[in-house]
Amino acid sequence: MQKWFPEFFDKYGAFTVFDLLVDYLKSGRIKIDKTMITQRAAYHDPCNYCRKSEEMFGHGYYEEPRWILGQCVSDWVDLFPSKANQYCCGGGGGTLLTPFKEERIHYGRKKIEQIRRCGAEMIILPCHSCHGQIKALLAENEIDHIPVKYLWEVVADALVIK
């Protein structure tokens, strides 16, 4: 958008999923019941919102999702390493759409180690590719009792309905 249609930003506003959720929560347009989710959750940083966004746009979305999680989940932890040093899930770059499944699952071995080490009972992330890949990884490693949820799914699940 910045590259091909820079004039777009003179006419329209544009928000990421994080901007919107932070705005809804801070302005009180939505309210959350933090007691709805009782499991220990771990947060996974997608490459594109973090390292790559920081490089391309000068801002990595590290703090916003963590702030949102703090509003919705009482017990959440970081994987190690996290943020800019986070391991890729192995499902990026379109690899979910290629026939190289064996390589893709092997790639994710570090992610499984990270998940096992932190004792997570739920994985929360804001990316469709990571979601598909981490679900596949958990199933391959026979720990698919651990649910994988989108960040906005957790918000939606914990909404206080007026």
């Binding site: 958008m1 091909w4 249609f5 777009f8 006419k11 329209y12 506003g13 544009a14 928000f15 990421t16 999923v17 919107l20 959720l21 809804y24 347009r29 939505i30 490459c47 390292r51 790559k52 490089e55 800019a84 040093n85 391991y87 890729c88 899930c89 192995g90 499902g91 990026g92 770059g93 379109g94 690899t95 759409l97 290629t98 026939p99 190289f100 390589e103 893709r104 092997h106 790639y107 071995r109 570090k110 804001p126 990316c127 469709h128 598909g132 989108y150 906005w152 799914e153 918000v155 939606a156 699940d157 909404l159 206080v160 309905i161 007026k162």
Partner: protein, 235 residues
């Protein structure tokens, strides 16, 4: 001074965009920090340092004809570790773009081609799309608190444009409702286009800038046609 790339011309290094720091490939120290950071080094012959070497030696076609560019997840850990700021990910993406389109493995290019032709990577006709969306919306309206919920297609003057990842429309219908619930409770004035609703841009993965631009342009067209104020960047 003659550089290594002068001696071994490479179309890939010529066309791959540099990182903000502007380091050209010649500056590679062959230190291997990229390979150490990359979780797939050693798998099926993949190694980011080897890929940088290949283009430095002008062996473009060897890279383009191999499966190596497609094994990369473009996660950027190699670049994050690189002390010289080499544009390793763009080298790989540029190589992908130079592969003949019919030789692109799996669904990536097929999805791009379908998306260009039909407005979504599934090739789903508008009637079927509306049927799926309305069916899931009706189900949500059966839940307490969402009784008056419906999906506002093509609403002129709406505040927020929402697009969809094709997998939610395809196999994962249950994940459509999360944003809908949030919008409903927040009282958001949002809209969903009934055509060209695809929020995914697989041109990013296939290295196809021309296709990528078409998909971005469609979003601009929605904003203009429907006089929408704000865009929610596709998830």
């Amino acid at each position: 001074m003659t550089t290594i790339t002068d001696r071994n011309p490479s179309d890939i290094t010529q066309s791959a965009p540099l990182r903000p720091i502007g380091s050209i490939t010649d500056m590679c120290l062959a230190c291997g920090a990229c390979a150490a950071g990359c979780p797939i080094t050693g798998i099926s012959g993949f190694d980011p340092r080897k890929i940088v070497r290949m283009v430095l030696l002008g062996r473009d076609s060897e890279l383009i004809d191999s499966p190596l560019p497609w094994l990369c997840t473009m996660c950027g850990k190699c670049e994050h570790a690189c002390p010289m700021g080499i544009n390793i990910v763009n080298i790989i993406r540029t190589a992908r773009g130079m592969v003949e389109r019919e030789k692109v493995p799996g669904m990536i290019h097929k999805g791009v081609a379908l998306g260009l032709e039909t407005g979504n990577n599934l090739g789903l006709p508008e009637d079927d799309f509306r049927f799926i969306i309305e069916d899931v919306a009706e189900e949500l309206a059966g839940e307490p608190g969402y009784e008056d919920f419906s999906v506002p297609f093509d609403k002129k003057g709406a505040n927020l444009l929402h697009t969809l990842h094709n997998k939610l429309v395809n196999t994962q219908n249950e994940d459509l409702v999360h944003w809908w619930k949030i919008f409903h409770v927040a009282g958001e004035d949002w809209t969903l286009p009934s055509v060209n609703w695809e929020g995914v841009n697989w041109g990013l993965f296939s290295g196809d800038d021309a296709a990528m631009k078409v998909f971005v342009e469609r979003i601009v067209e929605h904003m203009e046609r429907l006089e929408i104020k704000n865009l929610m960047y596709p998830e």
